[in-house]
């Protein structure tokens, strides 16, 4: 082959330009939409109309925008938790299960009920639900953490299996003990177990009428801030980063890796459990099947796209919230998964641009023979 030009791929020796990571991520997302448009064209769809509809469904009105934030809330909490675990190179693919167990634990408060739902102050009830949700998710995160730390069981597989277990566990309760007159759902929670929504203040502020945005998003923002403090300002965060970067060095430095693996998994699970609480208390107001639309897996993607940065997680989860809201409106329904997968693929591929410099160079005449 004697082309006049060839690609030269070299390892970057100099610092990566600061704009490049952002540019590659944005580029990957745009490219993913273009590829999806191509697929739509191939199967005889109309990409421009579909994406126009897509955009409108997500950002077309205040109501739509609020829906996006509502969908982004569990993704944000789960993404933060997964990101934390990824820092230590732990793959928590089990947020889906931790979400269900968290939702179940939180629902015990209004369903059993654990306290008098009439007389107990609302914030006490909500606080109990949030704490129980985190406890449930945390305990469910303990299992894979413990198995990983003690028996070196692949956390990828154990968390995946536990996802199925959690769904069946949840199903048992909503079909039997807590079933609402034989339906596959529990009765609606008492109002005191509902997270406040903007729509609740419609009488004071007219514009809020029908806006479903609830307090859960504040949990997410606070959690993002706390995770940021832990990771960049605390000794524990330093230990987590060190274990992730160089476990050998961490061990020599006397850091207890077993304990940290379990703790990080529990915190990761607790955040997913809180997401479950926020969803049943803020959106569904009852426990039922399919309270999660793949939040667990999308959360993994959110964490990865955000490059494990808590503040970037906020932005990315917003984008994915928009994808979910628009995705349930458009046909064919699988397109949403496809776009997600393509975005992620392109982003991880584009990482090669950060590590290597790819140049088009003129082939020297003596090389070209």
């Amino acid at each position: 082959m004697s082309l006049p030009y060839h690609l030269r791929i070299q390892k970057r020796t100099e610092e990566v330009p600061r704009w490049l990571p952002l540019a590659t991520s944005v580029g990957a997302i745009i490219l993913a939409f273009l590829i999806s448009a191509l697929i739509l064209l191939l199967i005889g769809g109309d990409p421009i109309r579909t994406f126009g509809y897509f955009f409108n469904a997500a950002f077309g009105s205040w109501g739509a925008l609020s829906d996006v934030v509502v969908k982004a809330t569990p993704l944000l909490l789960i993404g933060l938790g997964c990101g934390l675990a990824f820092r230590m190179r732990l793959w928590n693919i089990g947020a889906e299960g931790q979400f269900y167990i968290g939702a179940f634990f939180a629902s015990l408060v209004p369903l059993v009920p654990l306290v008098d739902m009439e007389t107990t102050p609302k914030f006490v009830i909500l606080l109990m639900m949030a704490l129980l949700g985190m406890l449930g998710g945390g305990l469910y995160g303990f299992i894979p953490g413990y198995l990983k730390a003690k028996f070196n069981v692949s956390e990828i597989i154990s968390t995946l299996m536990l996802n199925y277990v959690a769904v069946f566990f949840n199903n048992y309760w909503i079909y039997s003990e807590f079933s609402d007159a034989g339906f596959q759902m529990t009765p609606v929670f008492a109002k005191s177990a509902w997270l406040p929504r903007l729509a609740d203040y419609a009488q004071e502020v007219r514009a809020f009428s029908g806006i479903t945005l609830h307090l859960g998003v504040v949990f997410g923002l606070i959690a993002a801030f706390i995770i940021w403090i832990i990771m960049s300002r605390s000794r524990w965060g330093y230990e987590i980063n060190l274990i992730g970067d160089n476990p050998q060095a961490a061990r020599y430095a006397g850091i207890n890796i077993t304990r940290n693996v379990i703790l990080v998994f529990m915190l990761s699970g607790a955040l997913a459990g809180l997401a479950g609480m926020s969803e049943v208390s803020g959106v569904v107001h009852r426990l039922q099947e399919r309270i999660s639309t793949n939040y667990g897996f999308s959360g993994v993607i959110v964490a990865w796209l955000a490059k494990l940065n808590p503040f970037a997680t906020i932005l990315v989860s917003f984008l994915f919230g928009a994808l979910i809201v628009a995705g349930r409106e458009i046909q064919p329904s699988g397109l949403y998964f496809f776009i997600q997968g393509t975005i992620l693929f392109l982003v991880i591929s584009s990482d090669v641009l950060l590590r290597y410099k790819i140049e088009l160079v003129r082939t020297a005449p003596e090389e070209a023979k």
Binding site: V153, S154, M161, Y175, S176, L344, I348, V352
Partner: protein
């Protein structure tokens, strides 16, 4: 509940896991972990069903399923081998990609009837008393192909020259490279072969063993179980086959437990309270975890386990 039915059902459904797990073993032995088995299976199942429906030939459908799984796996190969991306994230996105593509392209297939790969009886072997009736009579042709694949893959991995190259690439790619083995080529090849077998597993569902297209419920998590089976099997096709069949039998046994009013002379709780069945449905997944705990403990004792370079990208010229 009869032992014969449980055994035969285990052989049938176990075949699906067997194909996928042996494919993943080959891929992982080359040092590439592909967590996208579920996505490749689903795409394979869709492609096989759609092609069989369109052409009227289940065998063309089978080929299409194999090709679909293989083609999808090439995306993983490119990204992890050439771009050195993280294999876990790439595998997960492959599952999303495969699921999405299968759902988009599989629109409107639900409820249709495609021509299926038929059952067969092996002439002489089926005459063996009792065993013949269970193992060689009136089972799907793919089940027999599964029987053949077990010894062949074991022999290929352990006794042949290309098999040795495969293991060398997964254990010490730099050393393999210095011996003139094309590390990238080998990794591409076995990622592709693993994808083809995952596609075959998917096709085995949709046009043979439990036929039909039920969108993402078609595979319902079997791809993930196949990945777990690989670890349980310690990268040995014989153990993977045994695990696959056992798992299939276990599932059938759980199903059959709900039938009788009396169980071992006691009132059957699953008959009287149907909701307890949810706990039965959990058991395969719980047992998978227990098998992993047990498997990783014995793996440590016997000093066997994952290929040394599993999950690590190979870059020529870097210290490996």
């Amino acid at each position: 509940m009869s032992l014969e039915i449980i055994l035969r059902s285990g052989l049938s459904t176990g075949t699906i896991l067997l194909f996928a797990a042996i494919g993943e073993i080959l891929t992982e032995l080359a040092g590439i972990q592909n967590l996208g088995v579920e996505g490749m299976m689903l795409l394979g199942a869709m492609a096989a069903f759609k092609t069989a429906l369109a052409t009227g030939s289940p065998w063309l459908g089978l080929l299409a399923g194999i090709a679909a799984g293989g083609l999808l796996s090439l995306a993983h190969a490119l990204v992890t081998i050439h771009f050195q991306a993280d294999q876990v994230v790439s595998g997960l996105s492959l599952t999303f990609l495969g699921t999405g593509l299968a759902l988009v392209l599989g629109e409107g297939l639900t409820g249709q009837n495609a021509p299926l790969i038929s059952n067969a009886t092996i002439p002489l072997l089926s005459k063996i008393p009792w065993l013949g009736r269970i193992f060689f009579a009136d089972l799907n042709i793919l089940v027999y192909i599964g029987y053949l694949l077990i010894p062949i893959s074991w022999w290929y991995i352990n006794k042949t020259r290309p098999g040795m190259h495969l293991r060398a690439v997964g254990e010490k790619p730099a050393a393999a490279d210095s011996l003139g083995i094309n590390v990238y080529g080998v990794r591409y090849l076995y990622t592709f072969v693993g994808g083809c077998l995952a596609g075959l597993a998917g096709a085995a569902i949709s046009i043979a063993i439990s036929p039909g297209w039920y969108s993402n419920l078609t595979t319902s998590g079997q791809g993930w179980i196949a990945v777990a089976l690989v670890i349980f099997a310690q990268w040995n096709p014989l153990r993977a086959a045994l695990g696959g069949y056992l798992f299939g039998m276990l599932r059938r046994f759980m199903l059959d437990l709900q039938g009788p009013m009396l169980l071992f002379g006691l009132r059957n709780p699953f008959f009287y309270n149907h909701n307890l069945v949810f706990f039965l449905q959990m058991m395969p997944f719980v047992l998978t975890i227990i098998a992993l705990v047990w498997g990783s403990a014995s793996a440590r004792r016997l000093r066997i386990g994952a290929p040394a370079a599993l999950g690590i990208p190979y870059v020529r010229g870097e210290r490996g």
